[in-house]
């Protein structure tokens, strides 16, 4: 139970699963991601049902979307997923410093993505593609916006964890937190892959 073996400076091999609390957290988070899958699945369904309802005179996805910008955003987010893998590997090697550095890089990449997305939305609104313009625009902003909000939440969350790691170090209490935040980060990455395909690529094809 209380495997706080931090006293002798050594952590168990997989510190995130060393305690029952940790194992519960990881399992519970997998379940939560199952629910999130349905959440995004429903958002995708709504978008797919409404994406051709552009309305008279409003810009279509084909006219709006600029693939280079979106591709750059995709590149940033996918890379951030890779750096979060490096972070977890560092955690398993119990190298707290490297763990923190990789998490910082992950957060910065996430921020870059978010800034590009905000710029993109700002640009669209100027092109006459507002939230209330059409059913297409409402479902577009809801789907992509939900994802963006998830990224924002992830950035705040991982930043908070970086602070905790600096203060408390890597323990059997902080390790599960880092681990599930990495799971979360991968999940929003996977969702983005689908958004890139369904919203942008399919939107460009028409």
């Amino acid at each position: 139970m209380s495997a706080h073996s931090h006293a002798d400076g050594k952590l168990p091999h997989e510190p995130e699963k060393a305690t029952l609390e940790g194992r519960n957290k990881v399992l519970g988070f997998w379940l939560f991601l199952g629910g999130e899958t349905v959440l995004f699945g429903t958002l995708f369904s709504a978008f797919l049902a409404l994406r051709h309802q552009v309305g008279e005179g409003n810009p279509t996805g084909q006219e709006l979307f600029q693939l280079p910008l979106v591709a750059l955003a995709t590149f940033l987010l996918l890379t951030s997923s890779l750096t979060s893998v490096f972070a977890i590997q560092a955690m398993h090697r119990q190298q707290t410093k490297q763990l923190i550095s990789w998490l910082v890089i992950t957060v910065l990449l996430g921020l870059g993505f978010l800034i590009l997305e905000i710029y993109e939305f700002y640009h669209y609104v100027h092109e006459g593609h507002g939230f209330t313009t059409s059913a297409f625009s409402s479902s577009f902003y809801t789907l992509v916006g939900f994802h963006g909000a998830h990224v924002l939440f992830g950035i705040c969350w991982i930043s908070l964890l970086i602070g905790q790691l600096m203060k408390k170090g890597l323990t059997v209490i902080t390790a599960p937190k880092v681990y599930v935040s990495a799971m979360y980060w991968h999940f929003i990455d996977v969702v983005w892959v689908f958004i890139f395909t369904v919203v942008y690529l399919m939107g460009k094809v028409g």
């Binding site: 379940l31 629910g35 959440l39 429903t42 958002l43 059409s134 059913a135 209490i173």
Partner: protein, 595 residues
């Protein structure tokens, strides 16, 4: 707010049940004679909407959750649920969501677009006031609680079972709760999206369901029912579990066909996701879709039939005791079969064009929800009351509850089948004389009052019992089969002083049959780690409550303030480590070294 007071939270759920029941009685009083003017037409719409919404989301589910919370850790030999903090958070979000919904009565009109809240009726064009806003935001907040509960029970059942408690040794109630939690997990996020979309439409002029700007009203029906149909199985499966426990305890027999029961539960859960469009036969999806959903729906009768026969075979040859819990369980079986039969009738798409939106549908779903779920909850409450509160409910009053409720129920809803076949539409405020509806409606109203009397009898029973000493035995029914009956009544806050070793299905019964006094402990007596109670879940829910109001009335500062309160609590929860406290072995002395 952890295990210590998990039983005292029971009360507000009963109050929501009473509010929903009161609304039902007002509906029935309005309908007792033709052209009655007891409530106005607008009020009637509010009553029927709030009756449905309250009963499903704020009464039935939370009552089930209360039972799950009290019983599941005991049945699997766990000290607590996996996430005590989330448990508490789920309770408070449910409570504040329910409060928000009911505040609408005092702020110029409750939601009035039906519990299904179909668009365009629920859109701003036809529901311009704030009623539906309360529905959308109240359910959103309460829904968070349900989702957290589902995750919590799944993690608890997977990770926290006592040594030897393999999946195929779990009591039937635990199994049904496990499947129900999976359904919650995969059904509720769809509702979350639906409610969010409707909220965006109503508050921020989005166009999801606004045909003028390309929106699609059928989309709401799909999203609502892809949540809504699993929801009815979320409700009924735990009732199946309760009935399974009660039937075998009071038949003094092992559950007949345990593994087929488990399989049938899984099958019902799976098929529950495949049939949502049977609520939409008259929407016009076309003959192919209707045929497929029709057949899928009828398939559900197979696993349900397996369950019915298994209960009957469990009773067959058993020495049955007719306690109140047992009576509710035995009354459940034929009642639920009747609801199932009308379900198959409704599943026939061509015939459904006749039944649709008539009182036949009302009769059907009240047979499965009241006759199934509520009877199951009554059985479960009478059965587990001594384990939860340490006091036996009065059996005589219990039997009065059963007789009045059972007769009242059938009086209310049996005649509604015929009202429906005669052509009385559902959700109608009043009707003309001379249509042949008068007599049947009168009978129905009398039945509803009888059900009300039954419920009042149950409340009296609770009050009388609360005044009695806590003297319930560990195994008050003497034939307890599962782990919860191995420990004292009420269960201590740590549940098991020593985690029990489970040696077979019906763990306690097996020890009894082997001549043992109780469970064999699986661990030495040691100090028990307990989580500290926390006020944060309460504050978080208050934050959501405030945010809900802020957004509803377009006061975004207040809305943002509410959200900031919630996120601040999340930060505090993350940063502050909960070291909990320990109960030392010498404090456990005299409380039974037995597991």
């Amino acid at each position: 707010m952890t295990i210590k007071n998990r039983h005292s939270v029971f009360d507000c759920r009963r109050i929501f049940f009473l509010i929903g029941g009161l609304e039902a009685i007002l509906i029935r009083i309005q309908l007792w004679k033709p052209l009655n003017n007891f409530v106005s037409a607008d009020m009637f719409n509010e009553l029927l909407t709030m009756h449905g919404t309250t009963m499903i989301f704020l009464a039935a589910m939370p009552l089930l959750f209360a039972l799950m919370n009290a019983i599941i850790p005991l049945q699997i030999g766990a000290r607590d649920v996996a996430f005590p903090f989330l448990n508490s958070l789920g309770f408070w979000t449910f409570l504040f969501g329910g409060l928000l919904l009911n505040v609408s009565w005092f702020t110029g009109g409750a939601p009035d677009a039906g519990w299904t809240s179909y668009v365009p009726l629920a859109g701003t064009t036809y529901s311009g006031d704030h009623g539906v806003d309360y529905y959308v935001i109240g359910l959103q907040i309460a829904g968070i609680g349900t989702l957290l509960g589902g995750i919590n029970f799944m993690a608890t059942i997977i990770n926290m079972r006592a040594p030897g408690m393999s999946f195929m040794r779990m009591p039937m109630f635990t199994w049904t709760v496990f499947i129900t939690s999976a359904l919650i997990l995969f059904a509720f996020p769809a509702l979350t999206v639906g409610l969010a979309a409707l909220m965006f439409d109503r508050l921020f002029d989005a166009n999801f369901f606004n045909p003028a700007n390309g929106g699609n009203t059928i989309l709401w029906e799909h999203i609502f029912w892809i949540f809504g149909h699993p929801e009815v199985y979320i409700l009924i499966l735990p009732a199946f579990g309760i009935i399974s426990e009660v039937v075998c305890t009071f038949s003094r027999k092992r559950l007949f066909g345990y593994s087929s029961m488990v399989f049938a539960t899984m099958l019902i859960g799976f098929l529950g996701f495949m049939v949502w469009a049977h609520h939409m036969f008259t929407t016009g999806l076309g003959p192919v879709a209707n045929a497929l959903f029709s057949i899928a729906t009828m398939l559900i009768a197979v696993p349900t039939g397996i369950k019915i026969f298994n209960w009957i075979f469990t009773m067959w040859g058993g020495s049955i005791r007719f306690t109140t819990a047992s009576l509710f369980a035995i009354g459940f079986i034929p009642t639920f079969v009747m609801g199932g039969v009308t379900g198959v009738m409704l599943a026939a798409a061509p015939a459904d064009f006749q039944y649709h939106d008539s009182y036949f549908v009302v009769a059907h779903f009240h047979y499965v929800i009241v006759g199934g779920l509520i009877m199951g909850i009554f059985a479960g409450l009478h059965y587990w009351w001594p384990k939860m509160f340490g006091r036996m409910l009065n059996e005589t009053i219990g039997k009065i509850t059963f007789v009045t409720f059972f007769i009242g129920f059938h009086m209310t809803f049996f005649v509604q089948h015929f009202l429906g076949l005669l052509g009385m539409p559902r959700r109608i405020w009043t009707y003309l004389d001379g249509l042949g509806f008068n007599g049947l409606n009168l009978i129905s109203t009398i039945g509803a009052i009888l059900m009300g009397i039954g419920t009042v009898a149950f409340l009296i029973n609770i009050v009388i019992t609360a005044a009695k000493p806590r003297n319930a035995a560990d195994d008050p029914w003497e034939d307890g089969r599962t782990l919860e009956w191995a420990i004292s009544s009420p269960a201590p806050e740590y549940n098991f002083a020593q985690t029990p070793l489970v040696r077979g299905y019906d763990a306690l019964w097996k020890e009894k049959m082997d001549g043992n006094k109780g469970m064999t402990p699986a661990e030495p007596l040691g100090s028990i780690h307990m989580p500290s109670p926390s006020i944060l879940p309460f504050i978080m829910s208050v934050g959501l409550f405030i945010a809900g109001f802020g957004f509803m009335y377009h006061n975004y500062y207040i809305g943002a303030a509410g959200l900031i309160i919630m996120f601040a609590c999340m930060v505090i929860r993350s940063v502050k480590d909960d070291h909990g406290f320990h109960i030392e072995p010498d404090e456990l002395q005299g409380k039974g070294v037995k597991a």
